[in-house]
Subunit: 334 residues, 3 copies
C-alpha cells in the first residue's frame, strides 16, 4: 500500500512493529479477561445465534414473493409463475425456519427452559408464516392503493412499490408481526429495526395495524409496542405514537400493560404530531393537525388543530451578534 | 447447520417435513391465484422492468465522475485524467441508457402508448444527462463551498465530500432532476428515495433548487415536488417545505398545480420549521427561525421568530407516578 | 439486454450511436478541463486518499471484537476465545493503521506540513486506539445495560446488541471519538456519518459523552461538536443539542469556541427537545420535557415542561376546501 519510504519512515515502522509486538498480547489478554469476568457482553456457546445478515436476506426473499417480478433480475411470465413462486417460497421456508429455530433455541438456552421442542416450534412458526404469504400479498396490495390515492406525487403503482419508504416499512412490519404473534424471539425486532434503519420509520413488531395503511415520507415516525391502529389510517413524517413517562423504577413491571394509544378507522395524523398513553383513543374519522400534542382521548369525527403560535416579524437589517438569538434553529453551528 | 439431534428432534423434523410437503403446494397455488385474480401486484411480462440495484449503481458511477479520485480505490493523476474520465463516462452512459430505455418502454407498455420511439427517447435522454455532467460538477463544487462556509465543524473540503449527508442528497437530487426534466419515469424517484434512505433527506426530484445550496444535518427534511428554491439558501434538519391539505377526494386533480412553497435567494430556514402551500413565498434574505410554522408569505429581509412558549419549572423531587405527565417526550416507553 | 428490435429501433440505435460518438469526446474534454481550471473538486495525486469502504469495514471489524460472537458467522467458545480475539484484533490493527496513515499523510500534503512523521504518528494513533478496546468493551456493556433498563420493550441483551440503533450509534461514536482525541483527520467524521446514515442519529465525534448513555429510537437526534454529556443520561428521538446562530460572517472564527450545551449526570431529555448554546448547562438529575426549547441554563433537580399549547377541537363534518388549513401537517401533498 505504502509505496514511498524515507529512512525516517523505515525507522518508524521498525519502532512501531516492536511496540506492536509487545503491546498486542497484553491487549488481547485484557479483552479475553473482560469476556470471562462478566464485565462485557459476548456470545460464547456451541450453539450458533441468529444471523443479522440471514434475517435481512429473509426480508428480501419475502419481498420477491409478495411482489413477484419487481425485485428480481429475471423476467417472470404467467406460464412460469408457479415454478418461480414454488422455488422462491421453498427457499424462503428454508431460510426462515433455520433462523427461527436458532432464535427459539437460543432463547431457551439463555433462560434454561426445556429445549426438546425448540426445533418443532421453530418449524411450526416458520411454516405458519409462510402460510400467511397470500394474505400478506392482499394486505400489501391495499397498502399500495392507499399510497397511490393519498399522494398526488405518486405517478404509478410501480413507483410506489419500487420507491416508497412507507410501503417498505409496512411490508417488513407485516412480516415481522406475523413472527411476533407466534412468539418468535429476536427476529421480529431485528427486522423492524432494519426497516427503521432504511426509512427512519420505527414500528415495533408488537403494534397492531389494520388494512389500507399509508405512511407518507415517514422519517422520524415512532409507533410503540402496544399501539393499535384501525383501517384506512394515514400518518405523516415525525408522528409519535408513544407512551407516557413512568417513574424511573417502573422498569419491567409495565412490560405487559397497554402503554401506547389506540387510533380508530379513517384517522389522519399530520406531521410532527405526538399522541401518548395507553388510555388515549383517537376516535374514527378524526383529523389530528401538524405538531399537535395529545395525551387524552378525542371523540370520533373531531378535528384537533394547534392554535398557530404567536410569531414575531423583524426587519432583518443591522443584525448584531447579540440579537436574533431566538432565530437559531440550532444545528446552525454544529 | 443443526448439529445435535435428540430423538424428539428427529421425530419433529419428520413430522414437520410431512406437514411441509402437504402445505407448500397449497400455499403456492394461493399465491399464483392472487397473481391472476388481480388482488395483488406483480410484474409478469416479457419486458424487463428497471432494476433498483442498477439505478443505485448509476448514482455511484456518476459520483466517481463528478468527484474524481474520491470514490475510487485507484489513484488518478493529471496525466491519466482523460483516460479515467473517458472510460468512466462511457460506462455511465451505457448503464444509464439501458435503465432509461427500460423505464421509458415499461411506462409505454403499461399505458398502451405507441412504443416505437421508446429506445430513441431513452438514448436521447441518457446522452443529454451525460452532457450535463460538467455543469453538475460546477454546481456541486459550489454546494461543497456552501457547506464549508456554513458549518464551522467542517474541517476540510475532503471531509465535506466524503461525509456530509447534505451533499450526498443534493448530488443525487441534481442528477435525478436532470432525468426528471426529460420526463424519464421511475428512475428519478428511485434515486431520490435512495438518498432519503441514506440521509433522511427527502427531496422530490421535481423540486427546483438553485445554486450554492447547503443542508446541515438534514434528517427529517422534506422538500415537495413543486417547491422552488433560489440561490444560496440554507436549510437545517427537520424542515418541511410541504403542501396544504386538500379534501380527501382531491386525489389526482391537483397533481399539476403548484402545491409547495417558493423560497427566494439567501433565505435561511432553521431546524424544525414547517412552510406550507403553493402560494407561500419566503422573500429574499429572510430568516425563518426554528420550529416556525408558516402558511402565508413573508416579505424580503424579514426575520420570523417563534415566541418562546411558556415553560414550567418544577423541582424534580418527590416525583410521584401521577405528576410529570407533561414531561414525557413519549417514546420513553416504547 | 434488448431482445426485440423493430426497424425503427435499429435506425434509432444507429442514429444515437453516431450522436454518441461525436458527443462523448466533447463531454470528456469539458470534464477534464473543469478538473484543471479549479472550478470543481477532484483528488488527483500520487498519494491515495482514505477509503470510505475501508473505514466502514473498520467499524464492523471493531464490533466483532467488542461484542464477540454476535456479528460473526462462526461459533466462538471459551477454549478458542484467545485465538479469535488475537486474530481479529491483529486484523483490525492492520486495517486501522493503514487508513489512519493515509488520513494523516493526506492531511499533511494538503496543508504542506512536514510529512516525515506521518507514518509514525499514524501507527501510534492506531495502536493507542486498539489499546482502548478493553475499556470500550466495558463502556459499551454499560450502554447495553442502560438500554435494557430504560426500555420496557427491550426483551433481552441480545436484542439490544443486535437491533438497537442507539447502541449502534454509540458504539461508532466511542470508536470515532478515540480517533478524534488523537487528532486523526477525516476518519472520525466518516465513521459517525456512517452511523448517522444508518440510524438518523448525528453525533459529532468531538462531543464528550459519559458512561451509561441511552438513546431511544434516536431518529433526528443531533449532538454537536462541543457538547458535553455526563453519566447515566437518556435522550429520545428528535433531540437537538445544538449551537446558537451567529452572524453570517462568523465563519471559522468560532471553530474552537464551545458552541454546544453541557448536560450533567442523570438528566433525561424527551423527544423533540432543543437545547442550544455553549453556555447552556442542564443541571444534574433534571428532566427536560418533550418539545421544550432551551437557550439558557437550568439548575439541578429541575423539571422543565412545555405548557400544553391551546388546541382547537372542531367537528369534522362538512369540511370544505377552504377550512381546515391549519390541520395540514404538510407533506400531505408532496
Amino acid at each position: 500500500m505504502i509505496d514511498t519510504s524515507t529512512p525516517e519512515q523505515c525507522t518508524a515502522r521498525l519502532a512501531d512493529s516492536a511496540r506492536y509486538r509487545t503491546a498486542l498480547p497484553r491487549i488481547v489478554d485484557e479483552l479475553a479477561a473482560s469476556c470471562r469476568d462478566g464485565s462485557g457482553y459476548e456470545h460464547l456457546a456451541p450453539e450458533p445465534i441468529p444471523s443479522r445478515e440471514a434475517t435481512i436476506a429473509i426480508i428480501h426473499q419475502a419481498r420477491k414473493i409478495v411482489f413477484p417480478g419487481y425485485f428480481t433480475p429475471i423476467r417472470i411470465d404467467p406460464s412460469t409463475l408457479e415454478y418461480y413462486l414454488g422455488h422462491e417460497t421453498a427457499n424462503l421456508h428454508e431460510m426462515l425456519s433455520e433462523q427461527v429455530i436458532l432464535a427459539v433455541r437460543h432463547n431457551c438456552l439463555r433462560y434454561h427452559e426445556a429445549c426438546s421442542h425448540c426445533e418443532e416450534r421453530g418449524h411450526e412458526a416458520a411454516l405458519a408464516v409462510i402460510g400467511e404469504l397470500p394474505r400478506l400479498r392482499r394486505l400489501l396490495a391495499d397498502d399500495v392503493r392507499a399510497a397511490l390515492e393519498g399522494d398526488p406525487a405518486a405517478q404509478s403503482i410501480d413507483e410506489v412499490i419500487f420507491s416508497y419508504p412507507g410501503l417498505f416499512a409496512i411490508t417488513i412490519y407485516r412480516l415481522a408481526h406475523a413472527l411476533w404473534r407466534r412468539d418468535v424471539p429476536l427476529l421480529p425486532r431485528m427486522m423492524t429495526e432494519y426497516a427503521h434503519s432504511k426509512t427512519g420509520i420505527d414500528i415495533n413488531p408488537g403494534a397492531r395495524i389494520g388494512e389500507y395503511f399509508f405512511i407518507d415520507h415517514g422519517t422520524g415516525i415512532v409507533i410503540g409496542e402496544t399501539t393499535g391502529i384501525g383501517d384506512r389510517v394515514r400518518i405523516y413524517q415525525g408522528v409519535t405514537l408513544g407512551a407516557l413517562s413512568l417513574p424511573r423504577d417502573a422498569g419491567s413491571s409495565c412490560r405487559d400493560t397497554k402503554r401506547h394509544p389506540t387510533i380508530e378507522d379513517d384517522v389522519i395524523i399530520y406531521s410532527g404530531a405526538t399522541i401518548l398513553g395507553g388510555d388515549t383513543v383517537i376516535g374514527a374519522r378524526s383529523v389530528i393537525g401538524g405538531n399537535v400534542w395529545l395525551t387524552s382521548s378525542v371523540p370520533p369525527d373531531t378535528k384537533v388543530l394547534l392554535k398557530t403560535p404567536e410569531q414575531v416579524h423583524l426587519q432583518n437589517r443591522g443584525q448584531g451578534p447579540g440579537d436574533g438569538r431566538r432565530e437559531m434553529g440550532d444545528g446552525r453551528r454544529n
